[in-house]
């Protein structure tokens, strides 16, 4: 076209290169989603538990993670790990750690909402059968909360996949960086 004379043309090799970098976006998103899902489940249960200290701890964690930029969390994880281990590490563990902790906070808050959306009577009915508290959660509450949680969880997954583009800023080569 001659529109941008300084840069090279965008052809098949370039496209394939981007496609290859897409792999890291997918891997990073997957790890963060699975790890964040586990953490989020713990947070959601802690947020809805009867122990005030557990509730407070989980609420504080979520408040801090939702009140600070992901980019800052990335930097803190990167330099924090460097401070702890005393050596300069590559970005990969820092990026996965930060995104996992970030996803855990958001998923925890989403799933707390889902758990609290289950009517109180379901807990009471499960207690009346009688099921132990953990069994009430596992067999009665969580299966119902799961259905409610699907749409917002998918919404967050989209945010997470887009959010991984930020990893490029601290030198992790995924789709945006490669482009």
């Amino acid at each position: 076209m001659g529109l941008v004379t300084m840069s090279r043309d965008f052809e098949w090799p370039e496209f394939l290169f981007l496609l290859g970098a897409l792999r890291w976006t997918v891997v990073l998103s997957l790890i963060a989603f699975v790890g964040g899902g586990l953490g989020g489940l713990v947070l959601a249960i802690a947020r809805t538990s009867s122990h005030a200290i557990l509730r407070w701890l989980a609420a504080t964690y979520i408040g801090v993670m939702q009140g600070t930029p992901v980019l800052m969390q990335l930097f803190l994880a990167y330099y924090g790990l460097a401070v702890l281990t005393g050596i300069r590490i590559d970005p990969w563990p820092a990026v996965t750690l930060a995104f996992t902790m970030y996803a855990a906070a958001f998923l925890g808050e989403i799933w707390r909402g889902a758990i609290q959306a289950i009517p109180r009577q379901q807990w009471e009915a499960a207690a009346a059968i009688p099921l132990a508290p953990t069994a009430q959660l596992r067999h009665v509450i969580l299966p119902q909360a799961f259905r409610i949680a699907i749409p917002p969880t998918v919404g967050f997954l989209v945010q997470l996949i887009k959010g991984t583009s930020i990893a490029s800023i601290i030198g992790f080569v995924e789709l945006t960086r490669a482009g």
């Binding site: 009140g67 930029p69 980019l71």
Partner: protein, 229 residues
């Protein structure tokens, strides 16, 4: 762990950090104002405009909501100059943030508009109102009241997301922090304090937005907008 934390040096550079935070606040407020105006216009056209408009706006909203903010910024700052449109970094940041916010806000406001009971709109038609009058006098206020919490949290996300504009060298809090940590080699301390500043701004914004909600909607003149206290 043999690392010795030195927060004193951060204290010495606090004025610079605060200047960065001030730009963050100005960018966020500017993008909110601009994005909100765009969103109101788009939401009106999306729900009451001609059919091609609706499809076009739908596509715009989907594009904004399904591509990373960083990529949108790169398109504005690095790709547009290729067709002769150049922006200064701060202008590009403001533009990117405004457009990004407008995409999300359009969808939020649209959902509020659709939550206004159909019968109220029909009542407006039967009074001989035009579409614009119905929008202005019947829909806007209740719709905004319904979606206020969603808009408020979107504003906080906008402010936190503004850290990303450091990538195109707009000199807000994150960019200042980047510069300072690279000249002082005290990365952890600087990012720690900057994160704290963001947290303060986010908590402050939430409190302020809550107060605004109370002042605008809760304290509403009884009967004026058809709801009781």
């Amino acid at each position: 762990m043999k690392y010795v934390f030195q927060f004193g040096i951060v204290w010495d550079h606090l004025p610079q950090l605060l200047a960065g935070a001030w730009l963050t606040i100005r960018l966020s407020l500017g993008a909110f104002a601009l994005g909100f105006v765009i969103a109101m216009l788009l939401a009106f056209l999306r729900t009451a405009g001609p059919r091609p408009f609706r499809a076009g706006i739908g596509a715009y909203v989907e594009f904004i909501r399904n591509t990373p903010f960083l990529v949108q910024l790169f398109i504005i700052y690095f790709s547009l100059p290729a067709i002769g449109i150049r922006f200064e970094a701060t202008t590009a940041a403001l533009l990117g943030m405004s457009l990004n916010f407008s995409g999300y806000a359009t969808e939020i406001v649209r959902s509020g508009i659709e939550a206004v009971p159909r019968s109220q709109i029909e009542a407006g038609y039967s009074l001989g109102f035009t579409r614009l009058q119905i929008f202005r006098h019947i829909i806007v206020f209740p719709a905004l009241r319904t979606v206020y919490p969603a808009l408020a949290s979107q504003f906080v996300l906008l402010m936190l997301g503004s850290s990303i504009v450091a990538a195109i060298s707009a000199e807000e809090l994150t960019a200042i922090t980047n510069t300072l940590q690279s000249t002082t080699f005290r990365a952890f301390e600087f990012y720690f304090v900057a994160t704290g500043l963001y947290l303060l701004m986010a908590v402050g914004a939430r409190l302020l937005l809550h107060a605004i909600y109370w002042a605008v909607f809760e304290r509403a003149r009884p009967g004026e907008w058809g709801w009781s206290r």
